[in-house]
């Protein structure tokens, strides 16, 4: 009879796990909605910002600003953006995998690779592998533009000081709740969007001067980029968690069904044995 009790215990434990995954799925769904909204809301600003930068950069001579200047990439910094929390399917694993192969190929070519992390998962992973971090931030899922600005400033400072020749970011691009793709994009040097063939740069009046504006706008543009990538990553995290929890809930469902079947069979077998015993006992009396 111990078997019956064991199965019942398993069923209960699977059911309570299912309750948790179900709740997490629902929480992730509502957070995803919010995160998705903020991605969409942040878009006008980000796209306008790159337009302004593009129109400004065509009229300023290259080399006017250190962040526009391209150097030979000898020291490369990679900023890895993951989440703080797990239980979101392959989300963090995918980012780290892409980051790892990037670091490996870059490191092999005699280049020095530097590392910065946002998010506890990446931090723990690379700390175990004895990496040193240039910038280390957590990713609590409530991004503020101020946080992005702080990170951007640190990255810019290192670039201007010549500690890095190029900066890349590994993050997850949010396409839909079901699809997120890991991307590695170059952040520095800044490459302004090229104007289309039929677009002409408009002649502007500037206040203050072009250069002053450019010095002001570029760091902000970098911060905007980081901010956008953070938002995308957070939306992806919730999307990925939602899908993972959805399949976990489904698996739990299947498992309860199987276990229930097993339980019923065991119960039936027990009853049959008991009946057999009674019948054979009665027969022995005759």
């Amino acid at each position: 009879m111990a078997n019956l009790k064991d199965i019942r215990k398993r069923i209960n434990s699977v059911k309570s796990t299912q309750q948790i995954t179900k709740a997490m799925q629902m929480v992730a769904a509502s957070k995803l909605k919010k995160a998705q909204d903020s991605v969409v809301q942040a878009r006008p600003y980000a796209s306008k910002m790159s337009d302004v930068l593009a129109s400004l950069a065509v009229r300023v001579k290259p080399g006017k600003h250190p962040l526009l200047e391209r150097r030979e990439e000898k020291k490369v910094e990679l900023l890895v953006i993951t989440s703080d929390r797990g239980l979101c399917g392959g989300y963090n694993g995918n980012v780290i995998k892409a980051a790892d192969s990037f670091l490996k190929t870059r490191g092999a070519g005699g280049e020095t690779a530097l590392l910065s992390v946002i998010g506890r998962k990446a931090r723990d992973y690379y700390r175990r592998r004895n990496w040193e971090f240039q910038t280390e931030e957590l990713n609590p899922g409530t991004t503020s533009f101020a946080q992005a600005e702080v990170v951007a400033q640190a990255i810019i400072d290192r670039y201007v000081a010549g500690e890095t020749d190029a900066v890349y970011v590994a993050y997850t691009d949010f396409q839909s709740a079901m699809t997120q793709t890991v991307q590695i994009k170059r952040l520095l040097p800044v490459e302004p969007k090229a104007l289309a063939e039929d677009e002409f740069p408009v002649e502007y009046l500037y206040e203050p001067s072009e250069e002053a504006l450019l010095t002001d706008i570029i760091p902000r543009y970098v911060a905007t980029q980081i901010f956008r990538m953070l938002l995308e990553s957070i939306a992806s995290e919730h999307g990925s968690r939602m899908t993972a929890m959805d399949s976990a809930t489904k698996n739990a469902n299947e498992m309860t069904d199987k276990l229930t079947l097993l339980y019923n069979r065991a119960r039936q077998a027990a009853i049959t044995t008991e009946l057999m015993e009674i019948v054979s006992g009665a027969e022995a009396l005759n």
Binding site: Q41, F145, Y204, L205, E207, P208, T224
Partner: protein, 135 residues
């Protein structure tokens, strides 16, 4: 000119604040206030802390703004800002609390402290929001 209106778009990193047709815009540039009427020459300027006013017909409306850029084209003004709040959106109590907090900190630290500037800027923004809300 094909149109005598200006399209005014205001966006902060978090959201698009405003997208309306207006007749006139007055913005607090860092080099001084400037007004924009339809057909203005293309113009790019930095914006400081202050009030941006826009006119629709004979109605005047205000937005509390802080730090950013204005890109002016013939019939379009795009303003990118760190922070922007419409006058009827401003939470006066919150702004008041921010003002008191900033004042309290300013009283504690010396003017040489590097946070002094930060707090001064915070006070500036809070005062600006309060004054816009009261218009």
């Amino acid at each position: 000119m094909e149109s005598d209106k200006i399209r005014l778009k205001i966006a902060s990193p978090y959201r698009e604040v405003l997208d309306v047709e207006v007749d006139e815009v007055v913005a607090p540039g860092e080099g001084g206030q400037f007004g924009v009427l339809p057909g203005h020459t293309p113009f790019l300027a930095t914006i400081g802390v202050g009030q941006l006013a826009y006119r629709q017909g004979n109605q005047l409306k205000y937005v509390a703004v802080a730090h950013g850029y204005a890109e002016v084209e013939y019939h379009q003004v795009i303003v990118l800002l760190d922070a922007a709040e419409l006058s009827d959106e401003i939470d006066v109590d919150r702004a008041e609390r921010a003002r008191q907090r900033a004042e309290g900190r300013l009283a504690e630290i010396s003017p040489e402290d590097k946070d002094y500037v930060v707090e001064l800027a915070a006070l500036d923004r809070a005062m600006n929001r309060i004054s816009v809300a009261k218009i």
